[in-house]
C-alpha cells in the first residue's frame, strides 16, 4: 500500500469518548490506581479541576486511528508524546478527545506520522509522533 502514501496524507480523524468507566477499566488493566484518576474529591483536593484521565490511557487511545489505517499494530515501531494538559473527565457526560494524524514524511518502507489530540479545545498531547513500517515483513 505504500506506493500511494505520501507526505501530507491525512489519516481519518476520530472522536474518542472517555468516561469514568473508561478510566476504571484502564486502571484495572494497567495497574495504575492513582486516586486522581477515579476519585473526584481527591483530584480536587490536589488542585485538579476534576478526575483526570491517565496520560497513558490518552497516549494508548490516540494511536488507534493510526493502527487502523496501517492495519497492523505491530508495525508501529516508535511512538512518543508530551503530555501538555490533563483531560478532566466529569461524572456527567465524560469527555471527548479529538484525534487527528498526518503523514509527515515517507522514506522507503518507513513513514513518520504526526498526531494531534485535543479535548475541550485544548491540546492534551504535543510532539506526538509515530514511526510506522508500511509493509508487512516476510516472516
Amino acid at each position: 500500500m505504500n506506493e500511494q502514501i505520501a507526505a501530507g496524507d491525512v489519516i481519518p480523524s476520530r472522536t474518542i469518548h472517555v468516561d469514568r468507566a473508561t478510566l476504571i477499566r484502564y486502571a484495572g488493566a494497567s495497574g495504575d490506581f492513582n486516586v486522581i484518576h477515579w476519585d473526584e474529591q481527591t483530584a480536587k483536593s490536589v488542585g485538579l479541576p476534576d478526575v483526570i484521565a491517565h496520560g497513558m490511557w490518552t497516549m494508548g487511545a490516540a494511536i488507534q486511528p493510526v493502527v487502523d489505517w496501517l492495519g497492523d499494530a505491530g508495525r508501529v515501531t516508535s511512538y512518543s508524546v508530551r503530555f501538555s494538559a490533563p483531560v478532566p473527565v466529569p461524572h456527567d457526560g465524560g469527555a471527548d478527545i479529538e484525534v487527528g494524524a498526518t503523514v509527515k514524511s515517507v522514506d522507503g518502507d518507513t513513514a513518520s506520522i504526526d498526531i494531534t489530540a485535543t479535548s475541550g479545545g485544548q491540546k492534551v498531547l504535543v510532539r506526538a509522533r509515530a514511526t510506522v513500517r508500511l509493509q508487512e515483513q516476510s516472516a
Binding site: I16, T22, R25, Y26, G28, A29, S30, G31, G47, G55, M56, W57, M59, G60, A61, I63, Q64, V67, D68, G71, D72, A73, G74, V76, T77, S78, Y79, S80, V81, R82, F83, R127, A130, E136, Q137, S138, A139
Partner: protein
C-alpha cells in the same frame, strides 16, 4: 525538595522477570480501545509473522515502570512521588512484544534538570529477554513539582 542532579547516569538492577500473557494483552487492548485482531487472535497474529498475539504500542509502559520503580525508591534521588507528574513518554519497538515473552526492565537515569522550581527526570529503560534481545526501549520524563506549587 529538588531531585538530586548527582543521580544522573545511575543504573538500577533489572526488575523481576515479566511474562507477557494473552489475557493481559487482551485486557489492556480493550482498555485503550485497540481493535486490531492481532491483539486477540493468535492465528491472525501468526498469519502476519508474529510468534503469538501482539501487545499494543503502549503496553510496555507497565513493564518499563517496574524498572523505573528503582529510581522512585532510591533515597539518593529524593523523588517525592506525591508531586510527580508524567511529562513525556516514548517507545522504540525493535519488534512488538508478544504473548510468551519474558522481559526484564533495566532503567538508567539519563538526565536530571531543574526548571521553574520543578525537577525533570529522564529515565531510559530497556526491556530485555533472557537471551539478551532488547525488544523495547522506553523513555519517560517525569516532572516533580516544586514545593511552592501546591
Amino acid at each position: 525538595m529538588a531531585v538530586n542532579p548527582e543521580v544522573a547516569g545511575r543504573s538500577y538492577p533489572p526488575s523481576e522477570p515479566y511474562v507477557v500473557s494473552r489475557a493481559k494483552i487482551a485486557e489492556f487492548a480493550k482498555a485503550v480501545g485497540a481493535t486490531d485482531e492481532a491483539h486477540f487472535d493468535p492465528r491472525i497474529a501468526r498469519s502476519r509473522g508474529y510468534a503469538d498475539v501482539i501487545a499494543p504500542p503502549t503496553f510496555a509502559v507497565m513493564i518499563s515502570q517496574q524498572g523505573d520503580a528503582g529510581v522512585m525508591k532510591d533515597p539518593d534521588a529524593g523523588i517525592d512521588y506525591s508531586r510527580l507528574v508524567h511529562g513525556e513518554q516514548a517507545f522504540e519497538h525493535h519488534r512488538p512484544l508478544v504473548a510468551g515473552d519474558e522481559v526484564q526492565a533495566t532503567t538508567t537515569i539519563e538526565k536530571v534538570r531543574q526548571a521553574g522550581g520543578h525537577s525533570m527526570v529522564t529515565m531510559a529503560t530497556k526491556l530485555t529477554t533472557p537471551d539478551g534481545e532488547v525488544v523495547t526501549e522506553a523513555t519517560s520524563v517525569v516532572v516533580i513539582r516544586g514545593d511552592d506549587d501546591a
